[in-house]
């Protein structure tokens, strides 16, 4: 099975209302943010923030330049990165010595424990590219637009992430 076989259906045009667009891509945005943050509760808040931002900038969305899903993922990514920054500052400010809060809860229902553990061991950047290319089934160009890197770099990053995930799963099974 190849990734191209799982291409998403054609994206809605700009003529679609914001409500319809939000409804169509809510799961994608939420899933992407769950993978990035490993925290479903946080992902919900960030998803809401994402759609609030999207509503404010809806007039700037140009369907000819990118699909609505790509555009929403770009906003979601910026929202998540802003949260990472503020969280880092907060932790640094509150207690430098304190270890950052670990999120070890199950963040995706329905995954095998090995795969869940493998995902947890990946970095946010690695999980992000897996979410975009595997979970949301964005093609290379769309994913590169979201991540701000070249399609080749996306492929390389995905390949490494999957290989690493595979190794972690295998090692976890072995243990």
């Amino acid at each position: 099975m190849t990734l191209s076989a799982h291409r998403a259906p054609a994206q809605p045009a700009r003529s679609q209302s914001f409500a319809a667009t939000a409804e169509a891509h809510l799961d994608d945005v939420y899933g992407y943010l769950v993978y990035m943050t490993r925290n479903p509760g946080l992902a919900e808040d960030l998803t809401a923030d994402t759609f609030e931002k999207a509503l404010r900038t809806w007039r700037h969305f140009d369907a000819r330049r990118s699909s609505a899903r790509t555009w929403l993922c770009q906003i979601a990514r910026t929202t998540a990165l802003d949260w990472f920054r503020s969280e880092e500052r907060r932790q640094r400010r509150e207690e430098r010595a304190a270890a950052p809060e670990r999120v070890d809860t199950v963040f995706v229902e329905g995954l095998s424990p090995e795969l869940e553990a493998g995902l947890v061991s990946l970095s946010a950047g690695e999980r992000e590219v897996i979410a975009l290319r595997v979970l949301l089934e964005l093609d290379g160009d769309e994913a590169s637009r979201v991540l701000g890197i070249s399609p080749t770099a996306v492929s390389t990053r995905l390949s490494r992430a999957l290989k690493k995930l595979e190794e972690r799963v295998v090692s976890h099974v072995a243990v």
Binding site: M1, L3, H6, F18, A19, A22, E23, L26, D27, Y30, G31, V34, Y35, R38, P40, A43, E44, T47, A48, F51, E52, L55, R56, W58, R59, H60, L81, F84, R85, E88, V108, E109, G110, L111, S112, L115, V120, S121, L122, S123, A124, G125, E128, I130, V134, L135, E137, G148, L162, K163, L165, E166, V169, V170
Partner: protein, 348 residues
């Protein structure tokens, strides 16, 4: 099926779905329709550039057109024509000649093409007539010949040569300036003959009406004569005291003196109106012909466009370093942001 494909399948099968509470929350958010954007909000940078760039070019072209066409030399009251001259001479325009022309604000000025002939004085009226004629001759020999010929023509018409300035170096540009006084009745003939001495480069005619001044003087003379007659009649009275007689005699003497002055002034005015002044300039220098009106207008447009291009270049030169520094700062900030993002995403 490879292990990777198995993983991908499992990941897709367990794709997180948004909880119902979140779905409702998003519906609430999405229910707020985006506010109708104002014109300024719609005017994004890209749209602004798309509108502003062609508008700026259009304004620049329009400005060049308006300034170029309205500022063309066709409005100049002086007409210069028929250029050309000897080879090797440095070409120049007639600006210098134009500037050298004396101001004649109070004069009725007229500029006509050489072919149309000079402006004629009005018969029966006293007028001061001035003419300026700029001619080009082929060389120094012709310059000398033309100068002498101009003097002969003037004398043959009953006029006089008021001044002559002749400058003919062995090499370079030769020139002569003559001030000629010709009877007004023959000024047309004089101009026609003088024009034949070379190629006409420029000409200017000025007429100042002296008739009102002459009429005023004549009236003052009549008043003075009447006053003198009155004073003489008074002096014939034998009953005048010595003091009264002395006073009347003094008044008579003063009035007679004023009458003489007025007569002299009237005679001077008449003499001035009898002779026309012709400033004749002869040169061997090649002078470029004035461009045709259409060419001048186009040149004006091109000149304005050139100035606009220079202004743009100036702005670019001045703003260039700032723009470069701005771009560098933007690039460094972007690089820093990318690194920070990479660091944040490298965390688990």
């Amino acid at each position: 099926m490879s292990p990777s494909e198995t993983l991908e399948r499992e990941l897709r099968a367990a794709k997180p779905a948004a909880p119902a509470a979140l779905r409702e929350r998003i519906r609430t958010i999405a229910a707020e329709e985006p506010q109708r954007e104002t014109f300024l909000q719609r005017l994004s940078l890209r749209r602004f550039v798309l509108v502003a760039a062609p508008a700026t070019v259009a304004v620049a072209l329009l400005t060049a057109g308006v300034i170029g066409l309205t500022g063309s030399p066709s409005d100049d009251p002086v007409v210069f024509a028929e250029g050309g001259g000897s080879e090797g001479a440095e070409p120049k325009t007639l600006e210098a000649t134009r500037e050298a022309a004396p101001a004649q604000d109070s004069m009725e000025e007229s500029a006509v093409p050489p072919a149309a002939g000079a402006v004629e004085p009005t018969p029966g009226r006293l007028q001061r007539y001035d003419a300026q004629l700029q001619l080009q001759v082929d060389g120094v020999d012709e310059l000398s010949s033309a100068t002498q010929q101009a003097m002969r023509i003037t004398r043959s018409l009953g006029g006089t040569v008021s001044s002559v300035s002749y400058d003919a170096p062995s090499q370079g540009v030769g020139s002569a300036q003559l001030t000629l006084r010709v009877p007004v009745a023959r000024v047309q003939s004089a101009i026609v003959q003088l024009s034949g001495l070379g190629t006409i480069l420029g000409q200017r005619y000025g007429i100042e009406d002296l008739q009102p001044a002459a009429d005023d003087l004549a009236k003052q003379i009549a008043d003075a004569q009447a006053r003198i007659a009155q004073l003489r009649e008074s002096l014939r009275n034998d009953d005048l005291t010595p003091v009264q007689r002395a006073t009347l005699q003094a008044q008579l003497a003063e009035t007679q003196r004023r009458l003489r002055d007025l007569r002299a002034a009237l005679e001077g005015t008449r003499a001035e109106a009898r002779l026309a002044t012709i400033q004749l300039g002869l040169t061997t220098e090649e002078i470029l012909p004035a461009p045709a009106e259409e060419d001048s207008a186009l040149d004006g447009v091109v000149d304005v466009l050139r100035w606009e291009a220079l202004a743009l270049l100036y702005v670019l030169v001045v703003a260039g370093p700032f723009v470069a520094v701005g771009l560098l700062v933007w690039f460094l900030l972007r690089l820093r942001r990318r690194r920070e993002e990479a660091r944040l995403l490298a965390q688990t």
